[in-house]
């Protein structure tokens, strides 16, 4: 008989780690199951300026490392496995991974989301060949080269600012004629001489020859197409895509309530199945940030504890 944990947590991002910290501290036997790497989306972020207590120089990885350390300190166990099937009904929940089966009384789903692709021809072919979703991973390749950033939200503009440390010129391609990013970030971008804007435009195609050397844009108002070809001396340029996220909820389809791909919960992070909670980017909510992920995780863990007491 394998061990039955009090709480099983899927995902070791800020939501999952925060749930782990609260569950571990409440002396619940807790297992976090992480598919690949700790931290989720935030490890791809160069600078975290808006999480309370984070001062200058805090990056996604440094913040998450401390969260993971904190969870470990409270006795939370962790295993690296990808959950492929779930049995959530009843008092004993079973998560089936590629490597093993995990049993728990309560489950907190904090599986997060991944970067949303543009979905245009050439994007997949040139991923890692000029197309990137991770500035901290790939910015250094574009030192003194040109870079395009697709998107107009906080993440897009913050990463564009980070990219100016490397690239010669950073052009933000946005489908509207103004940025959606917070004012403070917007002002920094507007004041940065390396940042340029291409408004009302979407990416229609990415072309290249082994590596990216051209991008085709469409003006959404005039429907006019423009092809931008890499400078001959440069041979290439970077295309960094930050146009939102896709939640990782495929394995819960037909089992849990899902809206536009996101898991539906109440204010206490409860899903439609007793003892199953969701936290962080994976659930329907208005603001997807580290601070709200951490809050979700805490609430879910406390609610899981309450639920376990009733068993």
């Amino acid at each position: 008989m394998s061990k039955v944990y009090d709480v099983l947590i899927i995902g070791a991002g800020p939501a999952g780690l925060s749930a782990g910290i609260y569950a571990g501290r409440a002396r619940l036997s807790t297992l976090i199951i992480e598919k690949e790497k700790d931290g989720g989306q935030i490890v791809l972020t160069s600078e975290v300026e808006n999480y309370p207590g984070c001062l200058e120089g805090e990056s996604g990885p440094t913040l998450v490392d401390r969260m993971a350390e904190q969870a470990k300190h409270f006795g939370v166990e962790k295993v690296y496995d990808e959950i492929v099937e779930v049995k959530l009904e009843g008092k004993e929940k079973i998560l089936i991974g590629k490597k093993g089966e995990y049993k728990g009384k309560a489950v907190i789903i904090a599986s997060g989301a991944t970067s949303r692709p543009i979905g245009c021809p050439g994007e997949k072919t040139y991923t890692g060949k000029g197309v990137s979703y991770c500035a901290t991973c790939d910015a250094a390749f574009f030192e003194d080269l040109e870079v395009f950033v697709v998107g107009g939200g906080d993440t897009a503009v913050e990463e564009a600012l980070y990219l100016t440390k490397f690239a010669r010129k950073v052009s933000i391609i946005h489908r509207r004629n103004e940025l959606r990013a917070a004012k403070s970030i917007r002002e920094k971008a507007e004041a940065n001489p390396k940042i340029h804007f291409i408004w009302d435009s979407v990416v229609k195609e990415i072309k290249g020859d082994g590596i990216v050397n051209s991008i085709v844009l469409e003006n959404v108002k005039t429907k006019e197409l423009t092809e931008i070809v890499a400078d001959e001396d440069d041979m290439t340029f970077g295309i960094f895509v930050f146009i939102g996220y896709e939640p990782k909820t495929k394995i819960f389809e037909g089992i849990l309530d899902i809206e536009n791909g996101y898991l539906v919960t109440d204010d206490n992070m409860k899903t439609n199945i007793e003892g199953v909670f969701a936290a962080g980017d994976v659930r329907v909510k208005s603001l997807r940030q580290v601070v709200t992920a951490a809050a979700d995780g805490a609430i879910a863990a406390v609610q899981a504890e309450k639920y376990i007491e009733t068993l």
Binding site: E36, K37, D38, G39, V43, L44, G60, P61, K98, T127, G128, K129, G130, V131, S132, C134, T136, C137, D138, A140, F141, F142, E143, G210, I211, V212, T236, G238
Partner: protein, 105 residues
């Protein structure tokens, strides 16, 4: 694993004979860091059958771009100096890497 740099990539990989495994990584690349322990384990397991190497691209940008590597991590297999297969970014999972290794040993 043999640590490569911009001075020995040419001799160790491009002029190398047989199958050579290369892990392209970089400073500040969290996915690369997460992947490295898995790669080290595979190097231990298959090290007698395949030459395992790794290159920090942050210090060898031109070499990487020359190999059409513009995004990390990339795990590649070279044969007689030619890149014959690679796993890029999300495709570079421990399972996929092991499956790729098994094709060439």
């Amino acid at each position: 694993m043999l640590v490569l740099d911009k001075t020995n990539f040419e001799t160790e990989v491009l002029q190398g004979e047989g199958y050579i495994f290369v892990d392209f990584f970089g400073d500040g690349c969290a996915p690369c860091e997460a992947l490295m322990p898995h790669v080290e384990k595979l190097a231990e397991k298959y090290g007698d059958k395949l030459k395992f190497t790794k290159l920090n691209t942050t210090k060898a940008r031109r070499v990487a771009i020359g190999q059409k590597v513009l995004g990390l991590p990339v795990i590649a297999i070279y044969k007689d100096g030619e890149k014959i297969e690679e796993l890029v970014k999300d495709d570079a999972t421990p399972e996929n890497i092991e499956a790729m290794i098994q094709k060439y040993i």
